[in-house]
């Protein structure tokens, strides 16, 4: 990040203009970002810490948390492996149709979560293309763990790949070529040359992927079936508590998710602070 120029420099704005711009930015972010966050915690603590903690005494909430952790623990590694493979192919090689492939990888990102959930219903639901076959073999995909995992993998699909590709493109192929010419085998080159070069971007991608995986609502809501204590993830549990008139508990559980988001951001900021260049390069498309 560039340091600020001295106030009176001809290549910077007048102090008044700077102050005005900063004020605009702070007010804008305050309204749109900080207010919702503060609201979550205020509502959660409305009736004191006791009521806040009591919200986590509910077995359904506990099993929702367990399910969410389990789903993320399956979905994130899958997307991690995919992200590495995709970025290796896309960043280190030149081939025809790269823009198309990139667009397809980005697609889940702009597909409505509702559609992301629905497409699995159309495939695996009772009326879906494979529905009859699955039912006759007594296999349950939607309204069970596999469906929730699939929907989660879908919505978090581009995260790791998107963090890695620009950075690996920037770094080029010379280091790998050097390692190969020194006799290293392919996988070893990847493991000891490429991976260390991108490790922070990779970690950041995984963190974002994880936060989104744990927080997904729309897509999971379509395929979950909302069985209490069985197929409810944390965001769905928030909705249920909210609809149970249990507002404090709803916001208390929501605050855990918000806290997860904050931790993600804190780690990311810490990483950027120490390894700023590497990470910001990842955003340089």
């Amino acid at each position: 990040m560039a340091d600020a120029a001295p106030p009176s420099s001809p290549t910077s704005e007048s102090p008044a203009a700077r102050l005005a711009l900063i004020a605009v930015a702070v007010i804008f972010l305050g309204f749109f970002l900080f207010l919702p966050l503060i609201a979550v915690f205020t509502e959660a603590l409305r009736n004191g810490v006791g009521a806040y903690l009591a919200a986590f005494d509910d077995p359904d909430t506990i099993s929702a948390i367990k399910l969410t952790v389990l789903v993320a623990a399956i979905a994130v590694p899958l997307n991690l492996v995919f992200g590495l493979a995709a970025s290796w192919a896309i960043a280190k090689f030149e081939f025809k149709g790269k823009s198309l492939l990139l667009t397809l990888i980005d697609l889940p990102f702009s597909v409505s979560p509702v559609v992301s959930g629905m497409c699995y219903v159309l495939l695996f639901g009772g009326q879906g293309y494979f529905g009859k076959w699955l039912q006759s073999h007594d296999l349950q995909i939607i309204f069970a763990l596999p469906g929730i995992v699939l929907a989660t993998v879908f919505v978090t699909f581009p995260f790791v790949a998107r963090e890695l590709i620009p950075l690996m493109q920037e770094q080029g192929t010379s280091e790998e070529e050097a390692a190969l010419s020194l006799g290293a085998r392919g996988f070893r080159t990847f493991w000891s040359v490429t991976l260390p070069n991108v490790r922070w971007a990779l970690l950041y991608g995984v963190l974002l992927c994880n936060a989104r995986a744990m927080g997904e609502f729309g897509a999971v809501s379509v395929v979950s079936g909302h069985l209490r204590g069985l197929t409810n993830t944390v965001p769905l549990q928030v909705e249920i508590l909210y609809n149970d008139y249990n507002f404090v508990a709803a916001f208390a559980v929501a605050s855990v998710l918000a806290g997860l988001g904050l931790v993600t951001l804190a780690i990311k900021t810490g990483l950027e602070w120490r390894y700023g260049d590497e990470i910001s390069a990842a955003h340089r498309r």
Partner: protein, 276 residues
């Protein structure tokens, strides 16, 4: 076919396996499921799809979703530019905190954002009780939610480019006697147009499909405050799969086009700048 080169020669190994795996996984998770949506809609035939799309309620929902998303992305482009400018160029207390917070809409689950926004902008909420007009449960409420989720895209695509801008050009411009405003508008801002467009398009694409954070704050009145994703859900819940997939297909096609334009622009910019 002998002139056709699928890929440029490279010394690095592993292209085949990485490339193949990428396509297989992409197909399993994304392409086949989305194909199912399109296939289902296709069984209706184009005439029927057109009939559904041109139904007043569908048309109104699509117009609302796309219109509000455009407006939200536009607002984000303006304020996102200011935020990115402030964050990269100035130093002031709390800058790092602001910088981190920009990613919040990425990390905060949409349902949580939705109920928080509803609580703030409802008639009896913090902000809702201060203003003389209604925010929550009107198109304005949807707009607020869409601004919230779209903000990081503009800021995060602008920041690195802004940090890269060659300060010498600005110095040269100042030396030649240009006023600061002239330098900013004639020299700096033009270089920011491509990333600004990318950020705008990404924010737009994300906003069009957004469901979780909007649903708690939208009024859901057909023709007034009913968004397209809600229409899909409503159709689905009336057991009208064909209708749901028809609307979904229209939205899919539009978001694909937007993303393709973004990626082509990026590839073109990269080639022009000689990067990568």
């Amino acid at each position: 076919m002998s002139q056709f080169r699928f890929r440029s020669p490279s010394a690095l190994p592993g292209f085949g396996i990485a490339y193949g795996f990428t396509w297989i996984w992409l197909s399993v998770i994304v392409l086949i499921p989305l194909g199912a949506v399109v296939l289902w809609a296709a069984s209706l035939g184009p005439a029927q799809i057109y009939a559904i799309a041109s139904r007043p309620q569908t048309f109104a929902a699509l117009r609302l979703s796309f219109g509000l998303s455009l407006a939200a992305a536009a607002l984000n482009a303006v304020f996102g530019l200011i935020v990115a400018w402030v964050l990269t160029r100035y130093s002031f207390p709390g800058r790092r905190l602001l910088d981190a917070a920009v990613d919040l809409p990425f990390a905060l689950p949409t349902a949580v954002a939705g109920i928080a926004l509803a609580a703030i902008y409802a008639p009896n909420g913090w902000v809702g009780s201060l203003v003389p007009f209604r925010i929550a449960y009107t198109p304005l409420g949807i707009f607020v939610a869409l601004v919230f989720i779209g903000l990081p895209f503009v800021v995060r695509t602008l920041q690195p480019v802004l940090a890269d801008v060659d300060r010498e050009l600005e110095e040269a411009s100042a030396t030649l006697g240009a006023r600061r405003a002239t330098t900013v508008f004639r020299i700096v801002l033009p270089t920011l147009v491509p990333p600004l467009l990318t950020g705008f398009a990404l924010a737009f694409a994300r906003a069009v499909g957004e469901y979780g954070s909007v649903i708690f704050i939208a009024g859901n009145i057909p023709g007034v405050s009913e968004i397209a994703p809600l229409l899909i859900i409503t159709r689905l819940e009336q057991f009208d799969y064909a209708g749901a997939t028809a609307v979904a297909t229209i939205m899919l096609a539009l978001s694909f086009v937007v993303l393709l334009i973004v990626n082509l622009t990026e590839a073109w910019t990269r080639r022009r700048l000689g990067r990568g």
